[in-house]
Structures are given as C-alpha cells and as structure tokens.
C-alpha cells in the first residue's frame, strides 16, 4: 500500500465531496440551472467547463497506454480524432441544435422524428453508456489496486459499489461542478508531469531517442490501417453522438460565448494531448510495459517514476476522482434514460416521482453489476474499449442526427431504420470479429447512412411543419 497516495486520495475525495455539496446547495438556492447560470459565465470558465465535459480522464490514461503498447502513431490517431471533436460539433450541429431548443439527443429525436425514434435512441444510449462504464472501472481499478495495495478484481468491485453509492446519493449537480475542478487539476497535473519528464530527459528530441532506444518499434504503425481509421472516425464523432453534455453547453449559453468557449476548450484539449505525447514517450523509455499485467498501467508507472510522492499522489487522486465523476454521470444518464425517457414519458405518465426514482436506482445497480462483471476481465485496452463505444454510438446515431438537422426529406421511418441497421450491424461485426479491432464503424456507419436515405426517399416525406422546422434550424445562414 502506498501510504502517502492513500492519504491524499482520501483527503481529496472528502474535499471534493464537500465542494460538490456546497455547489449543489448553491445551485438549488438560486433555483437556476447550472448551464443557464452559465449565461453569466465568461469564456474562460466556459472553456474549462466544456473541456471537462469532453475530456474523460480514463481516456487520457488509455491514450497513453495504447501509445506505449501499440506505437506512438496510435496515440496520435487518438489525438487526431479527439482534438477535432469540438470544431466538428461547431461546424455541423451546434448552431442548429441551439435553434431547435432541445437539451438532449433523445429530445431532439422526439422533436424531429417522433416518439418511436426517441425510445430507440434512449435504449441505445443505455446500452452504450453501460459499456462505457467498463473502461472507467478498468482505469479506476488499476489505480485503486496500485494505491491501496489490493488486487485488481477486488478494487474493481469495491470501487464499482462506491461509484454507485456516490451517484445514488450525490446526483447530477455535484458531479457537474466537481468535474470542472477535476478537469482543471488534470490539465495542470499532466503539464507539470510533462515538464518534469522533459527536464529529466533534457528535451523532447532526446526523450524520443530514449524511447526508440528502448523500443525500436515505438514510432511504427503496428496495426492494420482499418484500426487507425475506425478509431479516428469514432473519436471525431464523439462530441456529436455523446449524449447531452456537449449539447447542453451549446444549447444554453449565449451563442457567441458558447463558440468561443469551444474554441478555447480545443486549445486546452490540445495542451492535454501535447503533454500526453511527452508522457507516452516517457512510458516507452521506461521499457517496462511488457512486465505489466495491463499496458494501461503505464500511466501510473510514469507518474510514480517522475513525480515526487506527494505531487504524484495528488495527481493519481485527481485522476481517480475524475474517473469516478465520469462514471457517475454515465450511471445517471443510464438511469434517466430508462426511468424518465422511457418509463415516465411513454409507459406510465402518471407515475409518482418516488416510483420513477426507485426504478432509476434499480437500473443504476443493474448497470453497475454488468459493468463490474465485464471489467473484471477487461476485453481490451482502455483506448480500444472507448473506441468501441464511440463506434457503436456513431453507427447508430451519427447520421440520423446530422441528416435530421440538415436534410428536410429525412423522415421517421428512415431515421428509425438507419439507427437500427447501424446498431445491429455494429453488434454483428464486433461479435463475429471479421474486421480488425475498432474498424466496425467504417462499415456500419455508411450502411446506416444509406439505409436512412433510401428508406426516407421510399416513404412519405415529413409534414410541411417538420420541414419548415429544418429550415428554421438554419436561419442563421443568409
């Protein structure tokens, strides 16, 4: 057991919980939503908020792990996709979603295509988010087992239960606020780590040479082309298809601030991945990746090797807490998806608040159990698992959402068929393993697109009212 780290982790979790409660009460007192309160938030704070919403700490850990295990071009592919997330969202959907006035993706599908599409989308969100718990649990299990000195399996189970309790007690607001703080700490932490590494190796060139001396394949393309391309498109689309968070940021604040925040958020994201490149090179230069049970552990090894115990402990604690809040946001999305979007809105409109909350809690527990069971024997590297989630959501939602905003002729049957065909084909491809890993969306997403276009054209066009609404989404263009 690492005593310093454990103590810091404990203190950190207590402090972050207190901060969460404080902000939660404050938000309740003013009775205004965090994001509408965000109207008074300036670009600088907004940039950190949107950065924290997009950047998942487990994916940073995963990007570094994959770069060390599969060569640095794999890390760059990851970055090439994720740095494009916010610009891509702005280019294709942000302004239009803003004009539509909806706050979540299933809400948009209801407004544009109707209830059946909303229900299918809510089910897909639930499946995707349940699986997205797995990389979070894997990452926290690895850190937890190292810091607390327990085995990985026990760490995953204990932390999984902890996450569920925290989500059940805390709720969304505490999480949103602490996310902001953790996103900031994460960025500062990794930049400091990168500086320590660069000083230690006397500069970037020397660091890359050191990495190549230990691992001559560090600079190579080690996987099939399709794996890189599939990973890239899955991440590029992540902002468009990830439920709600990004969308809310754009939907609620005034347009100019939202855009500027996204632009500065991209700067922060770029800084994160530039520092990540340094960490990846340092990880390769340690030459220990083969000795680790799980390559994703390399991030923790780098922190331990280069940083003094106290700073390292703070960084690991921050990482762990950030993962916890991401996992909790996912659990809440899952429970809201079933209890609210499906049950309350469509099955039993008269259900009492207490009953709906109860269903939400049961759903959350079931999702955690499923996540824990898979994470005990993780089916792949963290980066690859995150890529699967992105690929699944892209194959199902990507085109129904974008065409819904851009193409008047897209109708309900087309959207429904496009969504189902993409999702089902993705599942078939991933379970049959005929393609290289992460290549599934290369086939499934275009199939979804074609099915949606063909079926829309073969069936009745949407009503004039709906078509006018699509024009309205685009009224900012003259």
């Amino acid at each position: 057991m690492q005593v310093t780290e454990s103590i810091i982790l404990l203190i950190y979790l207590i402090v972050i919980t207190i901060i969460g409660i404080y902000f939660y009460r404050r938000a309740r007192r003013s009775e205004s939503d965090y994001f509408t309160a965000g109207k008074s938030i300036n670009t600088f704070v907004g940039a950190f908020a949107i950065f924290a919403a997009v950047a998942s700490s487990s994916s940073l850990m995963g990007a570094v792990g994959s770069g060390v295990a599969l060569g640095v071009p794999y890390f760059f592919t990851y970055a090439f996709g994720v740095i494009a997330i916010l610009p891509f969202v702005m280019f294709l959907i942000a302004g239009q979603i803003r004009r539509s006035g909806v706050k979540t993706m299933p809400d948009f599908f209801k407004q544009r295509f109707g209830t059946s599409v909303q229900i299918v989308s809510a089910i897909i969100v639930v499946i995707g988010m349940t699986f997205y718990m797995v990389p979070q649990l894997t990452a926290s299990g690895l850190i937890g087992s190292h810091v607390l000195g327990i085995d990985y399996k026990t760490a995953v189970i204990a932390l999984g239960i902890g996450f569920t309790l925290y989500a059940a007690l805390g709720g969304m607001w505490a999480i949103t606020y602490t996310d902001l703080i953790q996103g900031t700490l994460m960025l500062v932490g990794i930049v400091v780590l990168a500086m320590f590494i660069l000083v230690d190796h006397s500069g970037l060139s020397a660091l890359i040479s050191d990495a190549l001396a230990v691992d001559p394949q560090f600079g190579d393309i080690t996987q099939p082309w399709m794996s890189y391309f599939g990973l890239f498109i899955a991440f590029l689309w992540f902002g468009i298809i990830s439920p709600s968070v990004v969308m809310r940021n754009f939907a609620s604040r005034d347009a100019k601030t939202a855009r500027r925040s996204a632009m500065w958020g991209t700067v922060l994201y770029l800084a994160l991945f530039l520092a990540g490149f340094v960490v990846t090179s340092a990880g390769a230069s340690l030459g220990i990746v083969e000795t680790l049970d799980n390559s994703d552990m390399i991030f923790v090894s780098v922190v331990e090797h280069y940083l003094p115990a106290i700073i390292g402990g703070l960084m690991l604690a921050g990482l762990m807490a950030a993962i916890m809040s991401s996992a909790d946001a996912m659990l809440l999305a899952i429970s809201a998806g079933i209890a609210h979007d499906i049950y309350k809105e469509n099955i039993n409109k008269q259900a009492s608040e207490r009953y709906v909350t109860g269903i939400g809690l049961i759903v959350m527990i079931v999702a955690s159990i499923v996540g824990i069971l898979i994470a005990i024997e993780p089916p792949g590297l963290i980066a690859i698992m995150v890529g699967w989630v992105g690929g699944f959501l892209l194959s199902s939602f990507g085109f129904p959402l974008v065409l819904g905003l851009w193409w008047k002729r897209a109708n309900k049957t087309g959207a429904l068929m496009g969504m189902l065909s993409g999702a089902i084909l993705f599942v078939i491809l991933i379970s049959s393993q005929v393609l290289p890993t992460n290549a599934e969306p290369i086939i499934a997403a275009p199939v979804s697109l074609i099915v949606m276009i063909v079926v829309s054209l073969m069936t009745e066009p949407p009503s004039k009212e709906v078509q006018d609404r699509v024009d309205y989404y685009h009224q900012h263009i003259h």
């Binding site: 494009a84 302004g95 190549l212 600079g219 393309i221 632009m263 900012h476 263009i477």
Partner: protein, 69 residues
Amino acid sequence: MATRSKLKDPGLMLTVVMVMYAALVFVWWPVDTYFKGISLVGWLMFIGLFIWLLLGVIYVLWIEKLEEE
C-alpha cells in the same frame, strides 16, 4: 432560401476542409517514411492537431463576422 444557402454555411465548408486533410492522411498513409524515428503518418496527424484548432478559430471568427453583417 434554405436549400441553396445551406451550402454556403461556413460549418459545411470547413467540414469539407477537415475531411480533405483527413483523407490526405488516410489515403496517402506514408507508413515507411520516417522522421526522427516516428512514421510520417504520426507526424501528419500531429500537424493535423494544429490544423483542427486553426479551423475552429476560423469558424468562430467567420460566424462572428457574419453576425455583425
């Protein structure tokens, strides 16, 4: 107004630029050319990170200019 003006959307035009650069990287795919020991593919993506940021900045300024008009 709608159908024609959608094609003039800065977002759509910048998406085309983004797709073109990504296509350059993934079609060319210079696996066996190395610079400082790292495959050129990696470096093209690295340059791409800055291009993405630049496109984001262009979009923000462009839309702000349109709004002023």
